[in-house]
Symmetry: C2
Subunit: 211 residues, 2 copies
C-alpha cells in the first residue's frame, strides 16, 4: 500500500465504502462494482474509482471489486482492521441512547464501558453494562491502550471530562457537549453538534425562501 | 444587512457565536469582545472580526460588541430569529435520547413531536410527549409549515421515512441512520454518523502511531 496524505473528506468516503461493503458481505455478495458503491454511497462511480485508484489497483476494469479484498484493504487504510475500544463518559439521555443503539454494523467498534460521576447512577445498569465511576477510567484506558472516548456529559462539564480523559492517556475524543474543548495538540477532538446542524438546515431553508 | 453568499464553515461559526452570545446573555453580560468570542469558540479573534465584518459593522473598534444586538443580528443572518419546529421520526434509543436531552440552550429550537410506526410505541409517553403515529406527520408539517425532521429510525428504514417526510412537505432533514438517502434537489439532508466520526478518529490515531 502506498502512503498518501488523505483529506478528511476522502476518509469519510472510505468509511462509507467500508459500510457498503460490510452490508454487501452480509447479503452474501462476492463482487461489487464501482457503480454499486457509487449508488449506495450517493456519489459518482468515477469518484469511487478515483478514490480507490489512489491506493493502488484493487479491482479489474469491467469486472468489479472483490468485496472481501476491498473491505480488507479499506479497513487497512482507515486503520480499522482491529478497531480501538470506545467508551462513553456520561450516562445521561444521549450516553444511554448511544449505548442502547449500539455500534453493530460499524465494523467492529463496540461500546466497552459507560461512566458517570453521579453515585446515584454508578452501579446501576445500562444496556446490560454496569455504569462505572469515572474514577475507573484511567484503569480501563491503561488496559485497552487504544480508546476513543465519547463525551456525553451535560453542558459545562465537557472540559473537566476531557482533561480527565487526556490525563488517563486517551488521545481521541468525540464530543456531544455544546462547548468547545481545549485539548493538547496530540489529542484529536471531534464534535457532534445537533444544534449547529439545525442552524445550517434553517439557514439553508430560509435562504431558499428568500430566493 | 448585506446579502452575501456564505460558506457552510462560516455558517457553523455563526452558530457557535450565537451559542456563546446566548450563554453570555444568561450570565448577564452586556458587552462581549471578539477575544472573548474567539476563546469560547476556539478560533482566533482576527477570524471572529473578519466573520462579523462581512455582515457590516456591529461593533466599535476597541469597545466590543453589544451582546443583545450581535445575537439579534447573527440570528437574523442564520434565519433562526423565529426557528422552525423540529420533529423526531423514530422513537428508538437515539430518538428517545434526543427527546430526553432536549434542545434548551440552542436558541429556541424545540422538539415539537416524536413519531414512530410501531403501534406498540405510539400512544406511550416519551419525555412528557405522547409518541404519535407516523400517519400524523403530514398534518403536523401542514400545521407548522416549517419543520426540520430528525430521522432516527433503524438502518434500512431511512429512505421510507425520508420519502414520507418529503411527501408531507418537509424540506430539511437531519438523519442519524447509517445509510445514504435520496432526496429531491429542493430538500436538504444532513447526516450525523457516529461510526464515520469514529473511523476518522481511528485513522488519525493510527496515522500518528505510524509517524
Amino acid at each position: 500500500m502506498i502512503a498518501v496524505k488523505v483529506s478528511e473528506k476522502s476518509i469519510r468516503r472510505m468509511s462509507h465504502y467500508a459500510r457498503c461493503l460490510r452490508m454487501a458481505k452480509i447479503r452474501g455478495e462476492v463482487i461489487i462494482t464501482s457503480q454499486q458503491l457509487a449508488t449506495t454511497c450517493g456519489i459518482s462511480s468515477a469518484a469511487v474509482r478515483r478514490d480507490l485508484s489512489i491506493y493502488g489497483e484493487f479491482g479489474k476494469q469491467g469486472s468489479g471489486y472483490k468485496v472481501d479484498d476491498l473491505l480488507m484493504n479499506i479497513q487497512s487504510i482507515l486503520g480499522t482492521t482491529d478497531p480501538p475500544s470506545v467508551i462513553i463518559v456520561g450516562a445521561g439521555s444521549i450516553g444511554r441512547g448511544l449505548m442502547n443503539s449500539g455500534l453493530s454494523g460499524t465494523g467492529g467498534y463496540r461500546y466497552e464501558a459507560i461512566f458517570d460521576s453521579d453515585p446515584a447512577k454508578t452501579g446501576t445498569s445500562c444496556c446490560g453494562k454496569k455504569i462505572r465511576s469515572i474514577d475507573e477510567i484511567p484503569e480501563l484506558v491503561k488496559e485497552k491502550k487504544e480508546v476513543i472516548a465519547v463525551i456525553a456529559v451535560s453542558t459545562g462539564s465537557g472540559q473537566r471530562a476531557l482533561d480527565m480523559l487526556v490525563d488517563a492517556g486517551c488521545s481521541a475524543i468525540l464530543s456531544f457537549t455544546l462547548e468547545p474543548l481545549n485539548a493538547p495538540a496530540n489529542v484529536e477532538v471531534r464534535y457532534i453538534e445537533v444544534s449547529t446542524e439545525l442552524d445550517v438546515l434553517t439557514h439553508s431553508m430560509r435562504r431558499k425562501e428568500r430566493a
